[in-house]
Subunit: 169 residues, 2 copies
């Protein structure tokens, strides 16, 4: 099992949008360039983030993407779910209802013990991702990278961010 690799790109893209002031955004070409990704790969993640209401899309010449809400209000599960979908890691196919000792549907009103144990573990996994916001990621990252590197990133952002139109799509 493996999370869709787009999740990594999407989290990094959101983390790059997070420090931008209100009214400023990054277009697809800039996001793709920053992450060394082909534009269609980046576009797919941004579309999924937009559909999930995590980023706002601004069309037009000075269009681009901005976070749709505060970075403290977007967590790693929000982004994972947007890119990888809401499906469970473990999907029960009701094996207990097949074979020579099949249980009847009426005997299976309660979730299978095995599926329930996996669901509980997955609930805990999602909760752990929900506990980490983009704001947390930024705070921790800022405390671990050099001031020089931070300066380089902010320099790139100020050169590449666009002033967004007033209406989003």
């Amino acid at each position: 099992m493996r999370i869709n690799k787009g999740v990594e790109w999407a989290v990094h893209a959101c983390a790059l949008l997070a420090p931008l002031p209100s009214g400023r955004g990054l277009n697809l070409a800039a996001l793709a360039e920053y992450h060394c990704l082909p534009v269609p790969y980046m576009a797919k993640q941004m579309q999924a983030l937009s559909r999930a209401g995590i980023v706002q899309t601004f069309k037009g010449k000075t269009g681009g993407y901005a976070l749709a809400r505060a970075s403290s209000e977007i967590n790693l599960w929000d982004i994972t779910r947007a890119i990888d979908g809401p499906g469970s890691l473990f999907r029960c196919t009701e094996i207990r209802q097949a074979g020579p000792c099949a249980s009847s549907p009426s005997e299976c009103l309660k979730t299978c013990t095995i599926a329930a144990a996996f669901a509980k573990a997955e609930h805990i996994y999602r909760a752990a991702l929900r506990e980490v916001s983009l704001a947390d990621i930024l705070t921790t990252t800022a405390s671990t990278v050099s001031p020089d590197h931070l300066g380089k990133v902010f320099g790139w952002l100020s050169e590449n961010a666009t002033t967004l139109p007033t209406s989003s799509h």
Copy 2:
């Protein structure tokens, strides 16, 4: 993302082997029949369980499979890892080392904040699966199914279990 569906089959197969007394086992055909699975599908899971030391394989006419250790000593992570592999859900591709603001390898000695957050959640997920043993699964299942159903399963087991040869492979 989704766990390999073989994990469900493998956990059910181990749960079926768990109540057998020492020296008794089930062969591949019986395991496949019980789970309504084509023999090659069942074989693949049993081979992986055998490689991981979770089941013992006994060859020959009365051969078959038995758990390699007590059901209290086999947990859901053991089985998941055996079937799905030890790889992480989230695999970091070091995005931070690419692009116009690339960090140098020497700046990346500490795990990326994003990868670290996913690794922490996954650690918690695995720990939750480690907490559930096959013995726990059996105890909980036995308390939720009807005595009639339990009788049916034990009847099938006593008809289909073989007396294993003394040496395993």
